[in-house]
Symmetry: C2
Subunit: 443 residues, 2 copies
DNA sequence: GTGTCGGCCGTCTGCCGACAA
DNA sequence: TTGTCGGCAGACGGCCGACAC
């Protein structure tokens, strides 16, 4: 992944710094491209950094597992409590893949003790924009033969209104991507039956971004009446190629040595978090860690639920009365939603491209160190789990405490407004409905 | 740079290993793409590894200089004498950029002492193929309007012979690139005046490799009657983007820590050498190091010559009688060539895309440590130089002893067959002629 | 409501020799 | 000897509604 532009998480859109070569990435768009499951800790907050998880991401990026005969860094604990000094959003200049650069400073021993006593920071704000849509591209969308078929409700909600008195109604749309590039599209409402289409300009975009059927595009209509445009590539197998800048061994040693040096001297160090390259969320808010580790009781045999992003969205039958629950975030506040399944009725819940169904439920089968020799007493992926369904083979057999939601205990997270699905949906919240309701979810 | 395929330097072409996913790169083609100035030490030989130079390459790849407040590795000397256990040639799957992966093992203290006593290995063999041509692409070559104009003598030497009885003479060429991909071209001899052209298939190649005017393509006709096809991209400014796998600081720490660990334990470590990404040749044959450091006398004021790769090839007038000299290599043997310039006559010497003229001559202005604080007593770029001509600004102000050829002393290198240009050129040697002679150099 | 197709037209690709550097 | 151009024919891009799921 090669980076071109960057932005501070606190700066706005389209602001070019005085250096001229560094652009600021739009935070809304970055989060939309990253997906609803990805959130970044707040600048200034305290976080927990897991060298193990970082190592996993590097291993995924280099396609190479950690070597056995490695130098040990006995002074480096499996988790470092750090102050998060800076978060910078990046996007790959070639692929638009998002990543975040974080500057961390390990807390001193005294500060670490205080960390557990001081009032915890609120959870991170996931900045999923409300006025947007995301569509997985079809073969027709990516073919050179035609344009892009815009889902009707999406076009009406996200695009500027057309003058339907015209025949046919049409306008020029200008959208900007993560790199602040401008893309122009002819938006037309025609055909029998009538439909929204992007024609002129669409194929240029598809070929420039090298989109293929299965990839997703998303449009955002933000508060400044700007149209933003992002992509999420389908997870294609074996796309990760080893880099040739540094050997994977040296990279592993480098991340460990850098963290160990920073921990020993309480100095700052910098990491890259590639949320879509690997599922290792190795920097998490301290409060999330404390809640999960010290305020949640888990035991073998306990049932849990976990959120995943999936490509498909098949409908399945519910075989038992069950509780579905979900964290939704809006403006720095977290909402806990729960409701009941009724046996025999088909359910499938979809927010954007993200599935929430019982394939992602399981049972805790054990709690132990993932790597007792190298990382004893680590909470990183300390929970062994069994998944309910046959797709379990694709799912990791180990998760971390803070990734799962135990179903038998009430959530310990600050629940500002517990909601039930049957209540009217507050406007401004991300839409989240069953299939029978109107929503903007595609597919 | 992301790698797909690899090969041992000792294996042949097109041999797929049993794993099935690792292909073997053709060594001839790799060296042709790397250029005549790039040579790799022999597997099994002893080499000198310079962490400083490695650090420079990483800095060039990450676009980031080394940070000031870095952890020190006082146990790591500025040069490590190593055994070279393995050399693997790679090529970037996206750009075809070549690089080499080397596995090094630092010698123990006793072995290091022996290294200076034992007979030195012969110099490395630069494997530039003899039967090949390289052409810099013109605007017409890369335009969609037409095909590729093949220089006549190149086509006649490198391509399989056409049947000139046919009208027009034509054939299908099949060439393989570094990744063993097959490219088919229609080779036709037509037009008025007659010329060799590649038509059908050429534009597919140009767009697949994303070639632009100024890039070079090269064809090799090897001993197995296979046609090989490589590219050398023009050095475009600012093409290097920082990677987001690991922070540049961590990469620097990683390479130092990996080398220090290997040196402390006499264990193997792995590095990547990107010859076209940066001019840091940080692994050199031990014999080259010993000759330069211990058997060559240099002093301030001394004149020297150094070889460079350039994009242009302008003819210039020689203003004084001068000695041109050059190392040529063939089958593990080095040849020293020298001849005299005559004032007032235009000279330009070109082997392939490589220029040898007096722009690359200079004077030694000082000898001192490049980084006295971090790397005291290092020979890496210890020679401060002044270049003769105005292009000096683009040239590095510091070079290493083994990169330059002092002009006032006879070379210390084993000179098997000192040649003069006026002698008949031995067949099998790389062609190297003045402009008035026939040769295969283009431009 | 939307994915894919046939139809149709216009642009661009790509092969040719002319011509000049 | 070879880089670029005009000419020309055919392929493909790309806009349209039809139709089916």
């Amino acid at each position: 992944m090669r980076l071109s532009s960057s932005s501070s998480s606190t700066t706005g859109f389209n602001q070019v710094t005085r250096e001229g070569d560094k652009k600021c990435l739009n935070s809304e768009l970055w989060h939309a491209c990253a997906g609803p499951l990805v959130s970044l800790p707040h600048v200034g907050s305290r976080v927990v950094y897991f060298p193990q998880g970082h190592s996993e991401q590097v291993a995924a990026s280099t396609n190479k597992e950690v070597d056995a005969h490695f130098p040990n860094y006995p002074s480096l604990p499996p988790q470092l409590i750090c102050q998060l000094h800076n978060v910078t959003m990046h996007a790959d200049v070639e692929t638009d893949e998002v990543c975040a650069q974080m500057t961390l400073q390990p807390l001193s021993q005294e500060d670490q003790k205080d960390a557990y006593l001081l009032p915890a920071e609120l959870g991170t704000a996931s900045k999923q924009p409300s006025n947007y849509f995301c569509k997985t591209l079809t073969a027709s969308d990516t073919s050179t033969h035609g344009g892009f078929s815009v889902p009707r409700r999406a076009a009406e909600k996200v695009f500027p209104p057309l003058d339907y008195a015209l025949t046919p109604p049409a306008q020029e749309l200008i959208a900007r991507d993560l790199h602040d590039n401008e893309w122009k599209f002819r938006h037309i409402f025609r055909g029998q039956p009538k439909r929204h289409l992007l024609t002129t300009g669409w194929s240029v975009f598809v070929s420039a971004k090298r989109l293929v059927a299965g990839d997703s595009v998303l449009f955002i209509w933000n508060e400044k009446n700007q149209l933003l445009l992002g992509i999420r590539r389908a997870t294609r197998p074996q796309t990760v190629m080893p880099s040739s800048v540094l050997s994977s061994d040296s990279m592993h040693i480098g991340l460990l040595a850098a963290a160990a040096h920073a921990a020993a001297t309480n100095s700052r160090f910098t990491i890259f978090y590639n949320p879509r390259a690997s599922p290792s969320e190795f920097v998490i808010p301290l409060v999330k860690y404390i809640k999960a580790v010290y305020h949640t009781r888990v035991s073998v045999g306990m049932r849990f639920r976990m959120l995943f992003e999936t490509e498909e969205s098949s409908v399945r039958r519910c075989t038992q009365t069950d509780i579905a629950c979900l964290w939704l975030s809006c403006n720095s506040l977290w909402f806990w939603v729960e409701w009941s399944f009724v046996p025999g009725i088909s359910y499938s819940f979809l927010v954007d491209n993200f599935n929430f169904d019982s394939r992602y439920m399981g049972t805790i089968t054990g709690i132990s160190d993932l790597d007792p020799a190298r990382w004893p007493n680590s909470y990183w992926r300390s929970v062994k789990v069994g998944w309910d369904e046959s797709t379990a083979g694709e799912r990791q057999p180990r998760v971390s405490l803070w990734e799962i939601e135990p179903l038998t205990t009430f959530p310990m997270y600050p629940s500002a407004f517990p909601l039930r699905l049957k209540r009217p949906w507050p406007s401004g919240l991300p839409s989240f409905h069953g299939l029978k309701d109107d929503d903007l979810s595609i597919n």
